[in-house]
């Protein structure tokens, strides 16, 4: 019954989204104004229905109802409840349903709460939102029904991909989806504004909270995804330029550019066409990302749905939405007036430079991700573009961008004097120079990119907090704090990345019980291996005793885990975090002489990478709260005026 109820709710939601699109289109035509008021309630009802449908799917997974094909293929009664819960979206159909649920709920929220946008633009936005949702409903209902029954029902399910059995990953996809979907709202806003030719400061102010919220989720999603790959895959690296990772990085880059240009549009009514273009590009990137991951067209460690038919369906949706939006952009943007002008040396100028560099990095990542596809289509040859390409092409641009980011907040809006700007950034520049001197002296042989990274990071750190200098901290607006903390987060992450790449020590040894190995400042004794069992896995667990200098010894337990359904081996690294870095241990295979392979890393300050990511997201959150609170206050003041 639950499965049928969920399917019924999904059909109803789909028909409501069709209604929302039709009513919206009529309302925008001459004489259709009587329909203006009906679009909002329809959008809200659609949100409720799809939420019910998703709740049904979660319930089926929690009860492990094996008569539903999706549950049988992805769940197992012996699984801990958290993973039964996460199993609902840890698969193709479920994750698509989650996607459309978040999309519709966000659309409902726009319908109910958005008050800043002109009525007609809001209706156009909701119609665009319905058009996007409609494609996904069609995809779910015709190509990948999550509620399909299975006859006969098997006695036991197959289980979730064991790599996905991890609390971090249970919540990683939803986080990214909130980000993707938030961007889809920005896209709908852009389409709505193009339709009604209403691109201006008010439009930017309405769009900004959505972009900010989406960007916060994307930032958290990428940070969590990176940490997950780092500790779960047992490779000891934190970023692999894997197509699936790139799929989340590209929308983030576009959203970061959009976030900054939307701020220019909101405060200075400038960069109108550019902002609209970025909204279209950001959404295109999240769609292209979904497509690349879902179609299995690129082989990747985490792609989990390989199916050309479904890939083709998404490709058609992609062509309709992105092609349509780009065509609308080309037709309409000429009629959008460019707005206020500014001098090259100004806050706007710095933001434009930052936007161009972000777009260039985005281009590099996109080309690197798609190049193998293009080559294969033309010559039939399989190849992959490795980290060297990405690091050497994107690295210098990223560093240049970070340098501009340091100066940006210290430049005035509209126009400024180059000499004044130089005076303001003198202290950070001086600090960078000292750092450079110290590093060259104390740590010779550090590669050029990590060296530049470390030097810049200290300058940026100092420059980020400079806007707070000589200010009354308690009266500084929350969004200024947000900017400061987000920029500081970039500096912190950069220290982590550069330090990890410059100073990591690695040891690979084969050891018998009782023998020791060394890595960085640690001595590690290999004590023994034991078999152990978990709820749905068995493992070989090593016991290691590590000691730093004369410090207190402590034990580590890296495991090699075997899951029964589906049968898979995973390696559970054991990681000890200390103030100045992490000791990372992985148990490998045994050899004939009874020795075990052991992989050890000492990674100084590596945790700063993710700590920085959290700071960046926190900065975004403070900005969002600050903006929303200010809007409220302004509204209250207007009400009492």
């Amino acid at each position: 019954m639950i499965a049928e109820a969920g399917l019924a709710a999904l059909w109803l939601a789909a028909s409501l989204s069709l209604m929302q699109l039709a009513f919206g289109a009529f309302a925008l035509r001459q004489g259709g104004e009587s329909l203006l008021g009906t679009v909002r309630p329809v959008a809200a009802a659609q949100a409720v229905l799809v939420a019910i449908s998703f709740a049904c799917l979660v319930l089926l997974f929690l009860r492990t109802d094996l008569s539903v094909a999706l549950v049988a293929a992805n769940s197992h009664s012996a699984k801990p409840w958290l993973y039964k819960f996460a199993g609902a979206w840890g698969n193709h159909e479920g994750s698509m349903l989650l996607w459309v649920t978040v999309l519709a709920v966000a659309g409902g929220a726009v319908a109910l709460f958005e008050r800043k946008l002109e009525q007609r633009t809001l209706i156009a936005t909701l119609a665009a939102q319905a058009a996007i949702a409609l494609g996904f409903y069609a995809f779910l209902l015709f190509a990948s029904n999550p509620f399909e029954r299975l006859n006969p029902a098997p006695a036991q399910g197959q289980g979730l991909n064991p790599l996905l059995q991890d609390p971090g990953l249970a919540f990683h996809p939803p986080t990214l989806y909130f980000g993707y979907v938030g961007i889809s709202i920005a896209f709908s806003f852009a389409v709505g504004a193009l339709v009604t030719r209403d691109v201006g400061a008010a439009f930017a102010r309405a769009m900004r909270p959505w972009v900010l919220a989406a960007w916060i989720f994307l930032t958290l999603g990428i940070t969590a995804g990176s940490y997950w790959a780092y500790y779960e895959l047992g490779w000891g690296g934190w970023w692999f330029w894997d197509p699936v990772e790139n799929a989340s990085l590209m929308p983030w880059l576009a959203a970061t550019a959009l976030l900054h240009s939307v701020t220019v549009l909101a405060t200075r009514d400038s960069l109108r066409a550019w902002t609209v273009m970025l909204a279209v590009v950001a959404f295109s990137m999240s769609m292209v990302g979904t497509f690349l991951v879902r179609s299995g067209i690129l082989t990747s460690v985490h792609a989990f749905a390989v199916d050309p038919e479904r890939g083709f369906f998404i490709l058609i949706l992609l062509t309709l939405y992105i092609g349509g939006a780009l065509a609308l952009f080309a037709l309409r943007v000429g009629t959008v007036r460019e707005g206020a002008t500014f001098e090259p040396v100004s806050r706007e100028g710095a933001l434009v430079a930052n936007n161009l560099l972000l777009s260039a990095i985005l281009g590099i990542v996109l080309v690197g991700t798609l190049y193998p596809l293009g080559v294969e289509a033309v010559t039939g040859e399989k190849l992959s573009v490795g980290p060297p390409y990405f690091n050497s092409a994107a690295g210098p641009l990223a560093l240049a961008m970070v340098a501009i980011m340091a100066a940006g907040p210290l430049i005035r809006w509209r126009r400024d004097k180059a000499r004044d700007v130089l005076a303001r950034i003198a202290v950070p520049v001086l600090l960078s120079a000292v750092m450079l001197f110290a590093l060259v002296l104390l740590a010779p042989g550090v590669g050029i990119l990590p060296l530049a990274g470390l030097v810049l990071a200290f300058g940026v750190g100092a420059a980020s907090v400079a806007p707070l200098w000589k200010r009354n901290l308690r009266r500084t607006p929350l969004f200024t704090w947000g900017m400061v903390i987000a920029h500081l987060g970039i500096a912190v992450s950069l220290v982590g990345m550069a330090s990890e790449s410059a100073f990591t020590k690695e040891t690979l040894v084969a050891v018998a019980p009782g023998q020791t190995a060394e890595v960085g400042p640690y001595r590690i004794r290999f004590d023994k291996v034991d078999p152990i069992a978990g709820p749905n896995w068995t493992a070989i667990e090593a016991t290691l005793t590590a000691r730093r200098g004369d410090g207190k010894p402590f034990t580590l337990h890296p495991q090699a885990r075997m899951f029964s359904s589906p049968p898979t081996e995973t390696s559970e690294a054991d990681i000890t975090t200390v103030l100045d870095g992490q000791l990372y241990t992985v148990l490998g295979k045994p050899d004939e002489q009874g020795r075990w392979q052991l992989r050890l890393w000492w990674k100084p300050f590596v945790t700063l990478i993710w700590f920085g990511g959290i700071l960046i997201a926190l900065g975004g959150l403070l900005s969002l709260v600050g903006r929303v609170r200010r809007e409220r206050r302004v509204k209250l003041e207007e009400a009492y005026a």
């Binding site: 049988a72 293929a73 098997p154 006695a155 036991q156 197959q158 273009m277 279209v280 590009v281 295109s284 292209v288 497509f291 179609s295 299995g296 067209i297 082989t299 390989v306 050309p308 890939g311 083709f312 490709l315 992609l318 062509t319 992105i322 092609g323 780009l326 065509a327 952009f329 080309a330 943007v333 000429g334 798609l370 596809l373 293009g374 294969e376 289509a377 039939g380 068995t538 075997m562 029964s564 359904s565 589906p566 049968p567 898979t568 081996e569």
Partner: protein, 176 residues
């Protein structure tokens, strides 16, 4: 006018992308992960009987002069149900099929064979997937063709569907 043309560039680029991707979506590509064991002898192993009254499986059985099919399966595996009719058809063609049962219990295997048919001559019980991994197999079901000298000649990943039958029979004939 020039400015107008520039505005269409993103759309043009996007269509180049869409066409490229559409081509590679339908290009016949080989996405399976081949075992590195093809062309190599089967690993040394001895597996106990998985069900009472049926011999277990060891590497010696697979080098007894006659090519054999080795099916990796489990009673808890859904695709194994899908491929059961095909395995029975192979048995009808007089191809000898042995099995490696992964992480399974005797009573579950017996129930599975009673319900979905029993094509196997020998069934070895691989409790912790060790032999499976030694074969270079990464999931269930998988099917190998081993020649009379115990060399692995062919690997089929995933369930055997009707359209795969010709290829498997051909691989078996080639292993003679």
């Amino acid at each position: 006018m020039k400015r107008r043309l520039v505005l269409w560039v993103p759309l043009a680029l996007f269509f180049v992308f869409a066409v490229t991707v559409a081509v590679s979506l339908y290009a016949p590509t080989d996405r399976t992960i081949r075992s590195r064991m093809i062309g190599k002898p089967v690993p040394q192993f001895v597996l106990p009987a998985a069900v009472p009254g049926r011999p277990g499986l060891e590497s010696r059985d697979l080098a007894a002069g006659q090519p054999r099919i080795v099916n990796v399966f489990a009673s808890w595996c859904l695709p194994c149900i899908t491929e059961a009719p095909q395995l029975l058809a192979l048995k009808e063609l007089d191809l000898p099929i042995d099995a490696i049962a992964i992480r399974d219990r005797p009573e579950d295997i017996a129930a599975f064979l009673a319900k979905w048919g029993d094509p196997y001559q020998r069934i070895g019980s691989d409790k912790d997937s060790r032999v499976q991994m030694a074969f270079g197999s990464s999931g269930v079901p998988e099917t190998f063709v081993v020649d009379g000298a115990g060399i692995i000649r062919y690997q089929h990943i995933g369930e055997i569907r009707p359209e795969h039958m010709a290829e498997i029979v051909q691989a078996y004939e080639a292993a003679r």
